[in-house]
Point group: C2
């Protein structure tokens, strides 16, 4: 697939069009830094938006859950979905209330999610999901057994119709407001990991593994 | 309205039902701590999920945007929406990959958003939105003028049909896995504000206001 693509009428950014980005590299960087997505789907004419973990492998997004979940049971029927990932980077304080904003990076993927039935692809997808959230963890834990794999439903959403939207930098005020006597700037926001907290039932005095001690979401 | 309410079939938490919470106090605490929501709506049978700021006033959620935005233009027609707010609190590392999870608090509100046409309610809603994100800022900036208010569309969503879902605490492993020799516990995650960065065009050497210097999302 080409790296750049022409947005469809459904994914073209209409508001603040200069913030729209349509190259895969940017979109994938945002997707790879995010931890949760918000999945939109429709049941009986009502939209639902549910947060869930996800992983990316090449040009596919994978989400998973219980084979009995209402959300995934519905996705399994091949209904249209929207998967949105949003990274909040800061509050933008302008001189006028009207020009206040947020710095953010977001990706919207539209399409139809299909159930993964091939056992090898399911295992690969679960590993991708795990490595997406915490690289190094998969090799360190008890692997899924037959029963657990059966209880898990993995869905694949091809990343075909998508767009990214990014706002960065200082506030943009109306020219006549720059003299207004108030502080203006950005309060940066970052999702920061704190000291890992051991499970009270951790029987042996184990050290926190490297991948959990130096955890960071920044993908550079 | 009663503080507790009986969930509808659409908002009753089906998966992990013990995580479902239906009292307003819990839901409002989550809504008041969140900075952005994800709004789900439908255009031509396709669900869209868009991140945006919001505010709460009593039993209403307010979202706003350009009067010309595709999203809000559609909401204006009275279509069904779903507004979801998610706070990510940590990664839960179990002994088995299957029991890995995340700690989170989320609220889902279903309903129909209506446009706010009364000028006083619109102004009150914009103040609520601003105070929600950064208490103290509203009084410190240039107020909205006639033209800006006209260019802004505010929508009200009554918080009537809703549910919250919360997962907290250490991993829950299968009993036979507790002996598995791997570290288990939680990596806590917090959205942390960094040092405010002044707008390069800030003409006078102004000090960062108190409300921006001690910014915290925790609502206690």
């Amino acid at each position: 697939m080409p790296d750049d693509y022409t947005p469809t009428p459904r994914t073209r950014v209409v508001r603040e069009p200069h913030r729209g980005i349509y190259d895969r590299a940017t979109a994938y960087q945002i997707l790879d830094e995010g931890l949760i997505c918000h999945v939109g789907f429709i049941i009986d004419g009502q939209p639902f938006v549910i947060p869930t973990g996800y992983g990316r492998k090449d040009d596919s997004l994978y989400i998973h859950g219980s084979a009995a979940s209402r959300m995934l049971r519905n996705l399994d029927q091949g209904i249209a979905v929207c998967v949105t990932v949003t990274l909040l980077d800061g509050l933008v304080l302008a001189r006028s209330i009207f020009n206040h904003s947020m710095n953010y990076r977001s990706v919207v993927v539209l399409g139809t999610a299909v159930a993964v039935n091939d056992p090898q692809e399911e295992l690969d997808a679960l590993r991708a999901l795990s490595e997406h959230i915490l690289p190094g963890r998969w090799a360190d834990v008890r692997q899924p057994n037959e029963r657990e794999l059966k209880a898990t439903l993995v869905m694949r959403l091809p990343i075909e119709e998508f767009s990214a939207k990014v706002r960065q930098g200082p506030p943009i005020d109306d020219e006549e407001d720059y003299g207004f006597p108030t502080w203006a700037g950005v309060i940066p926001l970052t999702l920061v990991p704190a000291e890992p907290a051991a499970d009270p039932r951790l029987s042996v005095k184990m050290t926190v593994p490297q991948y959990a001690r130096n955890y960071s979401r920044r993908r550079v």
